[in-house]
């Protein structure tokens, strides 16, 4: 479980996050949603330590990450897998080298064991016979799946996904969503997903927090978000008339 307590963050004179608190349970897909520029990515970067919060703390299973020194943080980070918005695959390495990269650096596994583990992770995300390709030679959806394979290679306890569906067609988006959901349940991971995709919200949102104006504006699950009367949430999630009609029909049924 990851617990965020009273997190605040400013850049210069601009305050981005105001006293954000929440709990992200293990074995659930936790979604962070909100309009662009509201602080979702900053919140996630504060949680993983890429930004230092001005106030507040981040607790990983009882360990206060914010109060740790660099060495202890590195140990926690070895338990984190992250899928970046642009995949962030190392473009000088092949698909297999990307996935085996953390294994080579941080484990004492033999070459064969590393290869087997990399192949297992790639198979888990349905990537077969692409080991020798460079990331640039694969499609956007494939790159996301390779990045997921790399993120799960070290058997992480915590998985972060920054807009995993951005730039993908609806079919591939569903594939990625299902994959994140399956992996979370299978390995009992604490998964945090930043998303704009309303399909993801409805499909995989076990726990949803809505960030608005840098604050934790609303919290609930994918059933509660259907019935909420919170104006900002309704305006954001049901921005289109199609979604509004859909919501009315679902509530009436």
């Amino acid at each position: 479980m990851i617990e965020v307590k009273n997190l605040s963050k400013s850049f210069g004179d601009t305050q981005i996050l105001f006293d954000v608190s929440s709990k992200f349970e293990a074995g659930r897909v936790n979604l962070i949603i909100g309009a662009s520029g509201q602080g979702k990515s900053v919140l996630t970067k504060c949680i993983v330590g890429l930004h230092e919060p001005d106030e507040g703390s981040v607790i990983y299973d009882g360990r206060d990450f914010s109060a740790m020194g660099r060495k202890d943080r590195i140990e926690v980070r070895k338990e984190i897998g992250m899928l970046f918005q642009g995949s962030a695959l190392f473009d000088s390495m092949t698909v297999e080298e990307n996935v085996s990269f953390p294994l080579k650096l941080f484990t004492k596994m033999s070459k064969e064991e590393i290869r087997d583990r990399a192949n297992f992770c790639l198979k888990r995300v349905n990537i077969i016979d692409k080991n020798e390709l460079l990331p640039a030679e694969t499609s956007g959806g494939m790159q996301k799946r390779i990045a997921i394979a790399r993120a799960i290679a070290m058997n992480p306890k915590y998985l972060f996904c920054d807009e995993p569906n951005s730039g993908l067609d609806p079919k591939t988006s569903i594939l990625i969503d299902n994959l994140i959901k399956e992996i979370t349940y299978e390995y009992n991971m604490t998964t945090i997903v930043i998303t704009h995709d309303m399909n993801s919200v409805m499909e995989i949102g076990d726990h949803i927090i809505f960030i608005n104006q840098g604050r934790n504006w609303w919290e609930g699950d994918n059933n509660e978000i259907l019935r909420t009367e919170n104006k900002e949430v309704v305006d954001f999630v049901y921005a289109s008339s199609f979604m509004k009609n859909l919501r009315d029909k679902m509530i009436n049924n």
Binding site: L50, A88, F90, F106
Partner: protein
């Protein structure tokens, strides 16, 4: 950011550069890959420039030697001294700052804007040490060998140009090359010491500008330009300071 903030952040960065690598086996692989990418691949350009610059130095020296009081072997002597003292260590380093510096800054800058550096950090890798140490060590250790190649080719260039155009004979040129060598050998060590420091400045400054790139493709280009300008200025300043300290 002002200049002092840049200098401060540069020295803070250097502290992380010399941290223990995560795995020595992986480090040595990347080290030799950088030797190939940065040092070996620079040799053709350095060889070409050195040969023709040596030729020009000797021809210009010969053209300006109108006094009958100056012996002909002075041409070989001046070519050797110009090459060892200034041309090979400083001018070649400035050219390498353009070629290698822009390459390093854009490589690391692209990794920054595509979140590859964030990915390294999330995995628990010391991204500064991982990306920069192999480059800095590879250039600092092996760049002096490139400069020795440059010195030899520059002197050969001077010999070919002069002999081929009939300005002096091989014996006269070689006599000039050997003149006062017993006392002037010291200059060779001075030149190689300069080279090590210049190599360190080129790679560390270029890495610094690449690592702290913010934005997108445009900023990567800007970082690359800034890296070349800053490392060229640093080379010239270091050249003056080292010359003052060692020869002054």
């Amino acid at each position: 950011m002002n200049l002092f903030e840049h200098i401060g952040r540069y020295f803070v960065m250097l502290k992380s550069v010399f941290a223990r690598p995560e795995k020595w086996k992986d480090f040595s692989k990347r080290f030799f890959s950088e030797v190939n990418e940065i040092v070996i691949k620079s040799i053709p350009l350095v060889a070409f420039l050195s040969f023709f610059m040596g030729a020009v130095i000797s021809l210009q020296t010969a053209a300006n030697m109108s006094s009958p009081l100056l012996p002909d072997y002075t041409i070989g002597y001046i070519t050797r001294q110009s090459t060892i003292l200034e041309f090979s260590p400083t001018i070649i380093s400035l050219i390498i700052a353009g070629k290698v510096g822009s390459n390093i800054a854009s490589e690391i800058g692209t990794m920054r804007v595509t979140e590859q550096i964030d990915a390294l950090e999330i995995m628990g890798v010391n991204s500064i040490g991982y990306l920069m140490l192999p480059k800095i060590l590879a250039t600092s250790i092996f760049f002096p060998f490139v400069i020795v190649i440059s010195m030899v080719l520059s002197i050969v260039g001077g010999w070919v140009a002069g002999v081929q155009s009939g300005l002096y004979s091989t014996q006269v040129y070689v006599l000039g090359l050997r003149a006062f060598w017993a006392t002037d050998q010291y200059y060779l060590y001075y030149a190689l010491l300069k080279t090590i420091i210049f190599a360190f400045l080129i790679t560390s400054i270029a890495s610094y500008y690449g690592y702290y790139t913010k934005g997108g493709a445009l900023e990567v280009g800007r970082s690359s330009t800034k890296a070349v300008v800053a490392s060229s200025v640093a080379i010239l300043l270091a050249n003056y300071v080292l010359t003052q300290l060692i020869l002054g």
